[in-house]
Structure formats: structure tokens, C-alpha cells
């Protein structure tokens, strides 16, 4: 099969497909019907988790009054999450969610930038598992915040928003149920996943095309130079998207937590 397709692959240009996101397992591990095999993405996930831990550990191990180096950078990040997200969206009560939100932001961002850092070149959140698990974490968090602040009246307040005519609840309650507990986590996860898949595919297409055109040694070599320049510019754009998506994921988690703190008026 490979022998038959290889000569064909040399003849024409083959654009990268969604198969870019499939990795073979390095260590096969099956426990009670669960596939816990470790592949490249899982390894990258462990590395990013370790990196997040190490960054915060070494930055704040011996904190100095006048911060410098790593402590400076990490303090700027914590300050940003604290002031621009926690205090701004949730209010003073938001201070106690700063650790969750900061960890979330750092993990999503470092997972995303893997897409443009050699030799990794793979965005961790381009696989559904991580965005899905993080979205479920945020879902469970805002539900538990709601229950701890309002008791089980939280569910009543969500499903039967106050200040509406009674008969209209027949229409609105299914909408509130789906939009709060189903649409929120799904959109949170898909927004991140889709941005990472699209970014990675576009980058792959431009680099593969640049390589193909530059080595073709005919008139399209000129276009290859253009594709290469554009691909490098796209790396900068992907860095921006990586930060933006981490910010959006974090701020929406904060918005949902804020919504669970008090019944809507």
C-alpha cells in the first residue's frame, strides 16, 4: 500500500488533512477496558503540566519585594488575571478564584503555543480531550459555586428565571436547561478546539506548500517565497490566537462563575 502511494505522493501536492492530529501510541496501556495509551500528545500534556508547575514554583519560591526575571513575568500574569478577569468580572469575591483562573490560563496558553514552538509544532488543545475536560471542570465549578451560594435554589433560579409570567416557563425552562448546562461547556470546548485545529491546519498547509513550491524549481518557486513569508507571519498570528483563546476560555469561566454567585434580577 505504501509502495503504491509513495510515487503518487512525489508527483502531486498533498495538502495536510485532519490526520495531522492523529498520533500513534508510544506506550500501549489498557486498564479494565480503558485505553490509557501514551502517545505524543499525552507526553506533551504531561510536559505542559510540569512546565506550568515549574514556572510558578520557581517564580514564587523566594519571592522578592522588587521582582525580577521570572518572578516579574509571572507576577504580571497573576496581576492580569486578578485585576482584568477576577476583579473585573466577578468582583471582590473573585479573589478566591484567582488560583483556578490563573492555572487555567497558563495551561491553556502553554498548550496552545506548542503549535508554533519547534520542534513540538502541535497545539495541545487541537485534540478534544483537553478542552472537554477543562470545560467540564469549569461547569462543575460554577454549579458548585451556585449551590454553595444559593443552595438548591440555584437550580430553581436558573431554570425558572425570576420576573417572568408563570405560563412562559413552559417555553423557557427547556431553553435555560440546555443553554446553561449543555451549551456553555460545549461552546467553551469547541471554541478552543476549533481555533487550534484551524490554526494548525493553516500553518501546516502554508509550510508544506512553501516547501513543495520552493523545491519544484520552476515558476512556482517565486510563489514559494511568498508562501514562506506568509507562513512566518502566520506564526505571529497564531501566537496572538493562542493568547486570545486562553483569555477567552478564562474570562468565560469567570463570567459563568459570576453568574452563579447571585440570582439574576
Amino acid at each position: 500500500m505504501m509502495a503504491a502511494t509513495l510515487p503518487l505522493a512525489r508527483e502531486g501536492f498533498h495538502a495536510p488533512t485532519i490526520e495531522e492530529f492523529e498520533w500513534p501510541s508510544i506506550v500501549d496501556l489498557h486498564l479494565g477496558g480503558l485505553d490509557l495509551s501514551i502517545n505524543r500528545v499525552v507526553l506533551q500534556m504531561f510536559l505542559v503540566a510540569l512546565l506550568v508547575w515549574a514556572l510558578f514554583f520557581f517564580a514564587f519560591r523566594k519571592p522578592r519585594l522588587v521582582p525580577s526575571g521570572l518572578q516579574n513575568v509571572m507576577e504580571a500574569m497573576v496581576d492580569f488575571i486578578r485585576n482584568q478577569i477576577a476583579l473585573e468580572v466577578i468582583g471582590h469575591e473573585g479573589i478566591r478564584f484567582v488560583p483556578y483562573l490563573t492555572t487555567l490560563f497558563a495551561f491553556v496558553f502553554l498548550g496552545n503555543v506548542g503549535g508554533i514552538i519547534p520542534p513540538v509544532f502541535f497545539p495541545l488543545n487541537g485534540r478534544m480531550a483537553l478542552p472537554a475536560v477543562m470545560a467540564v471542570c469549569s461547569l462543575l465549578l460554577f454549579i458548585s459555586v451556585g449551590v454553595s451560594q444559593q443552595g438548591f435554589r440555584y437550580f430553581l433560579n436558573v431554570l425558572f428565571p425570576p420576573g417572568m409570567p408563570k405560563a412562559i416557563y413552559l417555553l423557557l425552562t427547556p431553553i435555560e436547561l440546555i443553554s446553561t448546562f449543555v451549551v456553555r461547556p460545549i461552546t467553551l470546548a469547541i471554541r478552543l478546539l476549533a481555533n487550534m485545529i484551524a490554526g494548525h491546519l493553516i500553518l501546516s498547509v502554508f509550510f508544506v506548500a512553501a516547501g513543495y513550491m520552493l523545491t519544484s524549481l520552476n515558476v512556482s518557486t517565486i510563489f514559494g517565497v511568498g508562501a514562506l513569508v506568509f507562513a512566518v507571519a502566520l506564526i505571529a498570528f497564531e501566537l496572538f490566537v493562542a493568547g486570545l483563546q486562553a483569555y477567552v476560555f478564562t474570562i468565560l469561566s469567570a463570567v459563568y462563575i459570576a453568574g452563579a454567585m447571585e440570582p439574576e434580577h
Partner: protein, 71 residues
């Protein structure tokens, strides 16, 4: 993030409103479209999913106008 109008709520709530409106619209279509689809399967009809989607849209618009349209 800052709004030029009179400050009604903390400015971070701007993003809240946008995402909440989109979520409500999608939720309305999914919830009532889903109910219509289930009724279609149960009754053997095929038009209730469309009715459900329209009802869901209408409900979502009602909710959005009630919640954010007050001014």
C-alpha cells in the same frame, strides 16, 4: 471593554451579555428543536422539528429581550 453609555453594570459584563445571548439562541434552537425531533420520532411525523426550532428561536428572543432589552 469600556462602554460609552451610562454605567449600568461592571464593564466586564459586556462580554457576559454577548456570550449569554449567543448561548441562549443556540440553547433555544437545541432544546425545542430536540423536543420537536423526539416528537417526530415518536409520532412518525417530520414537521415538528421545524416547528420546534421556530418555537425555540421565539422563546430565546423573548428571554433575551426580557433580560437585556430593558435599557
Amino acid at each position: 471593554m469600556t462602554e460609552s453609555g451610562p454605567p449600568r453594570e461592571p464593564s466586564g459584563r459586556g462580554a457576559d451579555a454577548v456570550w449569554s445571548i449567543i448561548g441562549t439562541l443556540v440553547g433555544g434552537v437545541l432544546a425545542w428543536g430536540g423536543i420537536g425531533w423526539l416528537l417526530d420520532r415518536w409520532l412518525g411525523t417530520s414537521f415538528l422539528v421545524a416547528v420546534g426550532i421556530i418555537v425555540g428561536m421565539a422563546g430565546a428572543f423573548y428571554l433575551i429581550i426580557k433580560r437585556y432589552g430593558g435599557g
